[in-house]
Structure formats: structure tokens, C-alpha cells
């Protein structure tokens, strides 16, 4: 700031004028100004850097999980192995030793492997899920028996890691999970084009599994879906009703003051405390089955209610009083005025609040750990009372697993979760833009 010309000063005891003091300090003050501004800039940059690092880290860890390695082998569907009696009944076909077929194919592929321990190592390059793949093929088409087909089999997770370049060959052999002989076989397969990465549909259609290559998020997604639907069904009417009463009808007294303070405080209570409530009251007293979307939704409802109530009240305040007065003026009862005129106008704002509340519920993990939603569940749930888990809890469970291949799957699951959250937030923003009215 360049100070304008100061009127001729009179000078102080030492003969220096005020303007001299000011001018002498200006350099220092402007330097301080620049430092302060740089500090602020640095803070914003640092904050944005954190956002960038977080996203880049997760995408870099996880993008490979959308592909899965397969190994192509010519499988001889040997009638002797599958169905020695020739009865072709479904039970025999289901119980057959399909791993033997894969072993035979692998031995044929690598005839030089004769040592027993080597043969074990060789058959470990396909997933333990691969025999089921063959089982499904045969059950779907028993005519395959006796023929030889070339089949793309699911590879083991270590092979998958190798194919994605996450196994460092330069490490000494005993520091690697894949030894040199296995690398040799894989190189041979890759050279013949029998090792291929394809889009990982299993990730979106499978339930959880201890084997990384078989694990998918379908179960967790279904669990999250059922939980959110119930949460919305419970919390939206209650939230809107409560907001309507508190904003439009409640008398100003101690009781309503208490409710208001309560709502504000509940919004800031740690989420894990809601888990304790769910455990002690819903499971302990009312006997709601644990690990189900139902109990999850009950806890989530209590958690999201404050958010929805606060948003709904804001939406109600933005509807001008003239609307209510006009309705009352033509003879509507107070409730009719609210339900026929005010609520429809406030609905977009309330829906926005509900979506934001649901987004919070979708990302919430801690209270669900308390009410048993961390069980290891393989089946995809099909209802509100099936045992299930939800996406964030699945992420937590996978993050705890020691297998390296789970790291990329965890990151991929996080990407899916973040995508859903962004979609919901975007919907909320668009809804607000589209319907927001200035009165």
C-alpha cells in the first residue's frame, strides 16, 4: 500500500518525522505481508495436494484389479475321471474330481515336470476356483465329456500379481512369493499366448472369498443397497415429519428447546456410540437379528435423522410465509396448507438433504462393526433379513487380509464406493440447481 503524501511534519524529539518511522518500517511490514500470503497459499496447496495424493494413491493401487489373469489350457474332459459309470446324473457330475483334469492338462503342457513337489507347485498356478469353472461347464453341457476343449482358467492370485508386474523378478528368490521354477512356467505360458488378462467380471458378480482371485463386491453392494433402502424408508418420513412439526407447529417451550439442542448434539455424537446403542437396545432388548440390513438400517436411521431434520427445516424456512397465508386465507386447515402447498415446494431441498444423509450412511463403517456386520459372508444377500455386509465394511475386512492381491481389490472397492458417493453428491447438487427457487 503506497501511502499518499503526508503533510509536512513537525518532527519529534529526535528530529525524525512520523513518516520516517512509517517508511522505515514499510519494508519489514510488506515482507511480513508477503510471508503471510505465501503461508496461506501454502496451506491451500498442501490441502489440495493431500486430495491429489489420496486419489492418485488409491487409483494407482487399484486400477489393475479391474483386470484378472487367465491361463489357457487344453482340457480333456475325460469320461473316466468325470463319470466312470456313464450314468450322467447331475450328482456324479457335480462331485467329480475336476482338479485332476486340470492337473492332467498341466502335466501335458509341461511334461518335463516329474518331481512330486514340482507338480504340486505347478497345479498351484491355477485358482482353487478353477475346478468349479469346469464343473459349471460340464453341468451346463454334459456333451462336453469325452471331448477336449481349450479353456481359459482363472489363475491363482500370485500369478495374477506376476502378470500385473507386481512381483519384482530382481529380488532374491527367497524374498519372492513365486520361485524361479514357477516364473519359468509362467514365462513359457506367456510366450505361447496362454496367459492373458481380461476384464474382471468376477469382481462385480462374486461374493466375498478367502481367495483374492475369487473375491468380489457383489455381496457387499447388495448389502449396502438393502441397508440404504431401509434407511431411507425409515428416516425420510420421520425426518420430514419432525422438521415439519418443529418448524411449523411447535410451540416455543422447554420441551421443544430440549429437542432442538438434542438434534444438534446428536449430529456431533461419534458414530461408534450409535453402534453401542444398536447393540444394547436393538439386539439386546428387541432381539433384532444381527448382521442383517435391518439392524444396520435401524442404526443408520438414528444416525442420519439429525442431518435430514436440519436440511428439511432449512428447506421449510426457504418457503415464503405468503404461501402459507394464501392457503389459510382460502380456508385450508393448517395441516392442509402444509401438506398441499408448503411441502411440495420444500421437497427438493428435503430430498437433497436426504441424499446427503444417505451418502453419509453409505460410507459409515464403525457402528456396523458393533452390530455384527463384519461377519465373513460368501453368499449375496437377497433380502432385508439375510446376513450381509456392506461396502465400507468389506473394504475394512479386505484391508486386514494379508494377501498382497487383496490390496488392489481393496483399492478397487474404494474406487467403486467413491464413485457411488460422487454420484449421490452430484445428484444432490444438480437437484438443488434445478429446483432451487429464489422468492
Amino acid at each position: 500500500m503506497n501511502s499518499p503524501v503526508v503533510p509536512p511534519p513537525t518532527g519529534d524529539a529526535s528530529g525524525r518525522r512520523v513518516i520516517d518511522h512509517v517508511n522505515a518500517s514499510l519494508k519489514r511490514r510488506h515482507a511480513a505481508e508477503r510471508r503471510f500470503r505465501a503461508l496461506g497459499m501454502a496451506a491451500v496447496t498442501l490441502g489440495l495436494l493431500f486430495v491429489a495424493v489420496l486419489f492418485i494413491d488409491i487409483v494407482a493401487k487399484g486400477y489393475t484389479a479391474f483386470e484378472q489373469t487367465y491361463i489357457q489350457l487344453p482340457i480333456a474332459f475325460d469320461a473316466e475321471v468325470i463319470d466312470p459309470d456313464g450314468s450322467r446324473n447331475a450328482e456324479t457330475l457335480a462331485d467329480a474330481d475336476y482338479m485332476a483334469l486340470i492337473d492332467n492338462a498341466l502335466m501335458a503342457e509341461f511334461p518335463e515336470v516329474t518331481e512330486r513337489s514340482d507338480q504340486f507347485a505347478l497345479s498351484a498356478i491355477v485358482s482353487v476356483g478353477a475346478p468349479y469353472q469346469l464343473q459349471r461347464m460340464v453341468l451346463a453341457d454334459p456333451g462336453l465329456i469325452g471331448k477336449t476343449e481349450s479353456v481359459w482358467l482363472l489363475a491363482d492370485d500370485l500369478v495374477d500379481m506376476f502378470a500385473k508386474g507386481r512381483v519384482d523378478r530382481r529380488l532374491p528368490e527367497d524374498h519372492r512369493q513365486l520361485d524361479d521354477r514357477t516364473l519359468g512356467w509362467l514365462d513359457a505360458l506367456a510366450a505361447k499366448g496362454q496367459l492373458e488378462k481380461r476384464f474382471n467380471t468376477g469382481f462385480f458378480t462374486n461374493g466375498d472369498s478367502r481367495e483374492p482371485e475369487l473375491a468380489g463386491i457383489a455381496g457387499a453392494l447388495a448389502g449396502s443397497f438393502y441397508t440404504l433402502v431401509l434407511t431411507l424408508v425409515f428416516s425420510f418420513p420421520i425426518g420430514v415429519g419432525a422438521a415439519l412439526y418443529l418448524q411449523e407447529f411447535a410451540p416455543k417451550n422447554r420441551w421443544t428447546d430440549l429437542i432442538e439442542v438434542n438434534i444438534n448434539n446428536l449430529a456431533a455424537v461419534p458414530s461408534i456410540v450409535f453402534g453401542l446403542l444398536g447393540l444394547a437396545v436393538f439386539i439386546g432388548v428387541f432381539g433384532v437379528p444381527r448382521s442383517t440390513p435391518l439392524i444396520g438400517a435401524l442404526v443408520m436411521t438414528l444416525m442420519t435423522l439429525p442431518t435430514i431434520i436440519i436440511a428439511s427445516r432449512a428447506a421449510l424456512t426457504s418457503v415464503p410465509p405468503s404461501i402459507r397465508e394464501a392457503a389459510l386465507g382460502v380456508g385450508a386447515s393448517p395441516l392442509q396448507a402444509q401438506f398441499h402447498h408448503v411441502l411440495p415446494l420444500a421437497m427438493p431441498g428435503m430430498l437433497t438433504g436426504a441424499i446427503l444423509g444417505m451418502a453419509r450412511a453409505l460410507g459409515e463403517t464403525a457402528p456396523l462393526l458393533m452390530i455384527g456386520m463384519i461377519a465373513f459372508i460368501v453368499d449375496v444377500p437377497h433380502g432385508f433379513t439375510d446376513p450381509s455386509t456392506v461396502l465400507p465394511v468389506q473394504i475394512y475386512l479386505w484391508a486386514d487380509s494379508p494377501e498382497r492381491a487383496f490390496v488392489e481389490r481393496t483399492s478397487a472397492a474404494i474406487m467403486v464406493l467413491l464413485a457411488f458417493l460422487m454420484l449421490m453428491n452430484l445428484t444432490a447438487v444438480l437437484l438443488r440447481r434445478r429446483f432451487e427457487r429464489r422468492w
Binding site: V51, I58, K61, L258, I259, L305, S333, A366, I395
Partner: protein, 463 residues
């Protein structure tokens, strides 16, 4: 699935009630041309009938489903032969009942079921079937009775709208009391279990003891599982991690709020603010993953390069990431209060020749200080209650240390560890989690109340 069908049927009855009520009201005044003689619009008579049919039935349904299991279980328990139940503790009995239930629902049972258990399971199933029939019989009888009663009362003079609206009002009041009920539920459930805990472990040991090892001995001769419930290491660990988080979040959050509201050009503000707020929308489990798999190994690597010993689950990693999570919280609250400072104060400061940073530091910050303190307190309460980051990135070992490179554990971590996995409802180990929960709830509540009070006071000051 079996309970969906009667529920649908009940909805059908309600729809029927609506139709009948409406028709009856119109008929009572002699056809659709004369509805002016009715007190309310015909629809209200329909709703009136449906409410009469629905409310008692639904109330009974809700109550019954809440308590049916208790009733059936206690009946089954009473029927169990004395040879099985003799000398069993409450917990053992519970396990036995669980076996019976599992057998009845076709789940896997822990032991081979004895004939007595099988008989009990059959008994349990039978009782449940009877209870189901009785319940739906009662529900439909109530619905039918209510319907008939309402239809009888319908006439031109019946004030149907007032009845319907009165009921609706009661429903709204009940809805708005949910917040109170929730708080009450939290307090009661946590308090009740905590009191049982403090009967077994003296509260002085819990609040002042410095040793925490909640594993109680299963066998008398077991080593190292005496069960010590001194929570001081947990409190210290929680505070250490929260302190690190605040050291990250407050400077960055506050400075970026100042920069964005006082210095940044409009376009930068429009972009940077939402970008920063993305951090607030990311689920905590994602931060936990980031802390455990990226930040903790990185810190360990750097520490070892400098010759320091760093625990693989260091408090620093968890605190740092928690700080990142809280940045948008601090910055948006500070932004609000800074913007609430009247422009006249800035103009006054500029007019005296102060630079912009002097204005911010000497005028705006002191004026906004109460609001900022309130925001920081809210952020602290958030840090204390944060669970997933510490569960995934902080350790389990309860150590009393101020070294941020060591592994510490927190209150929330212990609640989760104590309550996940196998639990007995009576052991001090499980109850300790509720005592920790009570402490957590009380501390965050006090912080929140103070913070909200400060923020509100501050708002009033400039309005």
C-alpha cells in the same frame, strides 16, 4: 418371507377401509351431489376409517414382534428338563438356548444335539408357529373391529378431518421426539452396562489405573491374562493422536480459510473450496486404508533412513491422516466465522494504514476467535470419536507414551476390539467397552455443548 404376505393383506384391508369409509360418507348424505352437507371432504372419511382399522393393529404388531422372542424363549427355557439346566450359569443357559434356536432354524449347531435339545427345538418351532397364527389372528380381528366401528360412526355430523389431523399431529410429535428418544436410548444403554461394569471393577481403577489388558482368564492357571482395566493409557493414546491431528488440521485449515476468504481471487475460491471439501465426504475407512498402507510405511521408511525406530503402527501416521480428514471441517467452520466479521471492521483497519495481513491478524482473527475456538472444539470432539482410521492404522498395545513414533491405542479402538468377535454379555471384558463408550459419549457431549454454545453466542454478537 412368510411375514410379507399377511403384511400385504393388512395393507389391502387398509385400502378397503379407505374405499368403504369414503363410499359410506357419500351415501350417508344421499349421493355425490350432496357432499356439501358433509362436514369434511369424503377422502377424510376414508382416511378416518383406515386409521381406525390400521393404528390398533399396527401397534399390536409392533409390540408383539418386539417381545415375541423373549416370551417364546422364556417358555422354552421353562420347559427344558432340569437335568440339562441344573447348575448352569446365566451365560451357559444362554448358549444352550442359542443351540436350540440354531437347531430350530436349521443352522449349524456347536455340539451334537441331544434328544432333549431336539425336543426343545421342536417345542420352540411349535410355539413360534402358534405365536405367529395368534398374532395375525389378533391383528386382523383388530383391523376388522376398527373398520366396523369407524363405519358405524360415519355420518354427516362426524368431524372426520379434525380426527385425521389430530392423529397426524400426534404422529408428527412422536417423530420429533425421536431425537430425545435416541439420546435417552444412548444414555440408558451405555449407562446401564457401565454400572454393571463398575460393580465388578472399581471406578478408581478404571479412571486412574495405568495398566490395560482386558483379556480375562478363561482357565485359572492361565498366564498373563489377569484382566487389568486401567484406562489411562487409552485416554493418553487418544489425546496423543488427537493432538497430532489438530496440529495438522488447525494451521492448514485456518490458513487456507483465511487465504480463500481474504486473498484468493474469486475463481480460485470457487474451485479450491469444493475441492478441499471433497476431503470431508470421503469415508473414514478410506482414510484408514490410506494411513495403514501408504502413510505408515512411508513414515517408517523415512524414520529408519534417519536412524529412528518407528513402530509400524505409529501414532504419527494415524494422527497425520486424521488431521487431513479434519482440515475441511476446520476450514469451512473458520470460513463461516471469518465471513461473519463485519466489513466495517476491515475497512476501519485499512483506513488506519494497516496492511492486509495486519488486518487479518490484529482485527479479524481476534474478532473471530470465539467462533474459531468453537469450531476447533467441534473438530477435537470429532478426532476423539473417530474410529476407523485408528482401528486400521493405530496399534492395539496400550502403552503410556508421548512418543509419536510409538504405537498407541485409543478408546475407540478398544471398544471395537472388545465388541467384535465372540462375546459374553456378562464378562467385564464386554462391559468395559460400554464404560469406555460412556466416557467417550460424555466427553464429546461436553465438548459439543460448549462449542455449540460458543458458536451460537458468537453469531448473535454480529447479527
Amino acid at each position: 418371507m412368510s411375514s410379507w404376505l399377511p403384511l400385504l393383506a393388512l395393507l389391502g384391508v387398509l385400502a378397503l377401509a379407505y374405499q368403504l369409509g369414503q363410499k359410506r360418507a357419500v351415501a350417508a348424505v344421499g349421493g355425490p351431489t350432496c357432499i356439501n352437507n358433509l362436514h369434511s371432504l369424503p377422502g377424510y372419511y376414508g382416511l378416518y376409517t383406515a386409521l381406525w382399522a390400521g393404528i390398533p393393529a399396527i401397534l399390536i404388531l409392533a409390540l408383539w414382534s418386539g417381545f415375541q422372542d423373549h416370551l417364546v424363549v422364556s417358555l422354552v427355557k421353562a420347559e427344558l428338563p432340569a437335568s440339562l439346566t441344573e447348575g448352569l450359569s446365566e451365560g451357559r443357559l444362554g448358549l444352550l438356548v442359542n443351540d436350540v434356536k440354531n437347531l430350530a432354524t436349521g443352522n449349524i449347531v456347536s455340539t451334537d444335539p441331544s434328544p432333549e435339545i431336539q425336543a426343545a427345538a421342536a417345542h420352540y418351532l411349535q410355539l413360534r408357529r402358534i405365536a405367529g397364527f395368534a398374532l395375525w389372528g389378533l391383528v386382523f380381528a383388530l383391523a376388522g373391529g376398527g373398520l366396523a366401528l369407524a363405519l358405524k360412526r360415519i355420518g354427516p355430523q362426524l368431524r372426520a378431518r379434525n380426527g385425521v389431523e389430530g392423529t397426524l399431529m400426534v404422529v408428527l410429535i412422536v417423530f420429533s421426539s425421536m431425537a430425545i428418544l435416541t439420546t435417552l436410548g444412548i444414555v440408558l444403554s451405555v449407562l446401564f452396562e457401565s454400572l454393571r461394569f463398575f460393580q465388578q471393577v472399581p471406578w478408581t481403577e478404571f479412571f486412574f489405573g495405568t495398566e490395560w489388558s482386558p483379556q480375562t482368564a478363561m482357565r485359572a492357571d492361565q498366564v498373563g491374562s489377569t484382566g487389568a482395566f486401567g484406562a489411562v493409557p487409552l485416554f493418553a493414546g487418544t489425546m496423543l493422536i488427537s493432538l497430532i491431528a489438530m496440529l495438522v488440521a488447525v494451521p492448514i485449515g485456518l490458513m487456507s480459510a483465511i487465504y480463500l476468504s481474504e486473498y484468493a481471487p474469486r475463481t480460485l475460491r470457487a474451485w479450491a473450496k469444493p475441492m478441499l471439501e471433497i476431503l470431508a465426504g470421503i469415508p473414514t475407512v478410506v482414510y484408514g486404508f490410506f494411513a495403514a498402507l501408504t502413510v505408515a510405511p512411508a513414515i517408517r521408511g523415512w524414520g529408519e533412513a534417519l536412524g529412528l525406530t518407528v513402530a509400524s503402527e505409529s501414532a504419527l501416521a494415524a494422527g497425520l491422516v486424521m488431521g487431513i480428514m479434519i482440515i475441511p471441517f476446520v476450514s469451512s467452520l473458520s470460513d463461516d466465522v471469518i465471513n461473519a466479521v463485519p466489513q466495517a471492521m476491515r475497512d476501519g483497519s485499512y483506513a488506519l494504514g494497516a496492511t492486509q495481513s495486519e488486518t487479518v491478524r490484529r482485527v479479524i482473527l481476534p474478532a473471530a476467535l470465539p467462533g474459531i475456538v468453537g469450531g476447533v472444539l467441534l473438530a477435537v470432539s470429532r478426532a476423539i470419536g473417530e474410529t476407523m482410521i485408528v482401528v486400521m492404522a493405530a496399534g492395539m498395545s496400550a502403552r503410556l507414551t508421548a512418543n509419536p513414533l510409538d504405537a498407541v491405542t485409543t478408546v475407540t479402538v478398544q471398544i471395537v476390539t472388545l465388541l467384535t468377535g465372540d462375546q459374553e454379555f456378562d464378562s467385564p471384558k464386554t462391559l468395559a467397552a460400554f464404560a469406555l463408550g460412556l466416557t467417550l459419549f460424555a466427553v464429546t457431549l461436553v465438548l459439543n455443548v460448549i462449542a455449540l454454545q460458543i458458536v451460537r453466542k458468537y453469531r448473535e454478537q454480529y447479527e
